[in-house]
């Protein structure tokens, strides 16, 4: 299983608190997905 398949069904939260499936972020177009260390 590659990293994209592993990430597909993980849920993250938007700044409005809404849950979003990561896979939905590259469903309509390519995505540059950046994981930051922390906010600050």
């Amino acid at each position: 299983m590659n990293v994209v398949d592993r990430l597909r069904d993980v849920e993250v939260q938007g700044t409005d608190g809404q849950k979003v499936r990561l896979g939905s972020l590259w469903q309509e177009q390519p995505s540059v997905l950046v994981f930051v260390r922390h906010f600050g």
Binding site: V10, Q13, T15, G23, P30, L33, V34, R37, H38
Partner: protein
Amino acid sequence: VFCQQQVAQLRDVVDEIRGRGAELVLVGNGGVERARAFRDKQKLPFPLYTDPSLESYRLAGLRHGLGSLMSPRVALHAVAALRQGFRQHRTQGDPVQQGGVFVIAKGGGLLYQYVSREAGDHPDNADLLRALDEDAASRNRT
């Protein structure tokens, strides 16, 4: 500081990413309140999500903890980050979590990945754009 530097670097490239029909998405790991404050303070021109559980970081194979950091210099940085992270806002995120970047094709193919070794270790913008260009070129051929 490192994080703001990275945001500035991404701000420079967001138009070129969108010009290629792609989107730039940030994922952090602090609380939702903290994510909102970060977005507002940085006036982020791209979507921001957060994963306080760090599950996505783990599944993405990103580095975590002091154990993977062998050099004394880097360990000192990490200890400083740890101290600073806890002193400022616990909810801003995990102080020993490292980041990374994945360029993903529409529908889910992995085009490029970069796993950061330490704070301030980020890929060049040109590499991200090249991955998108190569994907577009391969689609045009088929």
